[in-house]
């Protein structure tokens, strides 16, 4: 194993730890921090996968904005006590078995498929991504901005509606 692979594995395990914290920890603040750990290690892995622009955007948008947003809501709702909301009923266990079956089928399919040899693609620098976004993918790009505008308006309306009651 090369040094890069070792560092990648370390970040992969850190991300796994963060995800398991989200699943199993009972205090909401720790869940949010586990989410943060997952996002930061994913950003590091993006940078190692030749996507430096996306790694930085991941750090800014996910770890910067979304995790802070989650923490803000936890603070507003005053979720101080540990939650005991694990639902291990029959319905949940059936769904668990189905999910395991589906995803292990996916894993076996990947194993049987002849995946191409690993290689690093072109580097996703801001310039290259910007040229692609503003030439070939202009319409999806503009639609994403429209979607963000609509989301802002709906968030304001939802907040106002709660205030009136």
């Amino acid at each position: 194993m090369t040094l890069t692979a070792v560092i990648f594995t370390i970040f992969a395990l850190l991300g796994l730890w963060g995800a398991l914290t989200v699943l199993f920890h009972r205090k909401p603040v720790y869940n949010a921090l586990g989410l943060l750990l997952n996002f930061v290690s994913l950003a590091a892995m993006y940078i190692m996968l030749n996507a430096p622009f996306l790694g930085v955007i991941q750090l800014i948008v996910y770890s910067g904005a979304i995790v802070v947003f989650f923490l803000f809501v936890i603070m507003i709702l005053n979720l101080r006590d540990p939650l005991s909301d694990m639902d291990l009923s029959f319905k949940g266990l059936t769904a668990f078995i189905l999910v395991i079956a589906t995803l292990s089928a996916l894993g076996v399919g990947l194993y049987l498929a002849h995946l191409p040899q690993w290689q690093l693609g072109p580097e996703g620098s801001p310039q290259a991504l910007g040229e692609l976004l503003l030439k070939d993918y202009l319409i999806p790009f503009e639609l994403a901005s429209l979607l963000l505008l609509v989301a802002i308006v709906i968030a304001v309306v939802l907040g106002k509606k709660g205030e009136e009651q």
Binding site: L35, I57, L79, L132
Partner: protein
């Protein structure tokens, strides 16, 4: 040893943990965190596959998904706050107003 396989398996594992969070936690806030985990694992798989097919388009897709995830989490959290104001809890088992008696 093919790295592609292991990275895609890692992405499936993250997706799996996100799915389990949505399935087993009953708090709406934690369920939204599980959704974020799932979206992130999809981004991760897109970037990996973009690398092995030697194209930048995977990263463009990931960027658009990132914008959608930001919009989704803003709306989701606004809804969670409204639900909490309505019943004083974020546990989704409490919200059964549409169930016929």
């Amino acid at each position: 040893m093919n790295y592609t396989y292991w990275i895609l398996i890692l992405s499936i594992t993250y997706f799996f943990i996100g799915t389990l969070t949505v399935l087993f936690r009953r708090n709406a806030l934690i369920m939204l965190m599980g959704l974020e985990l799932m979206l992130n694992s999809a981004n991760f798989a897109l970037i990996t596959v973009g690398n092995i097919v030697n194209s930048l388009e995977g990263q463009v897709f990931a960027l658009v998904i990132l914008a959608i995830a930001a919009a989704e989490v803003a709306l989701g959290l606004a809804i969670v706050i409204n639900l909490y104001r309505l019943k004083g809890t974020a546990n989704i088992d409490e919200f059964n107003n549409l169930r016929s008696e």
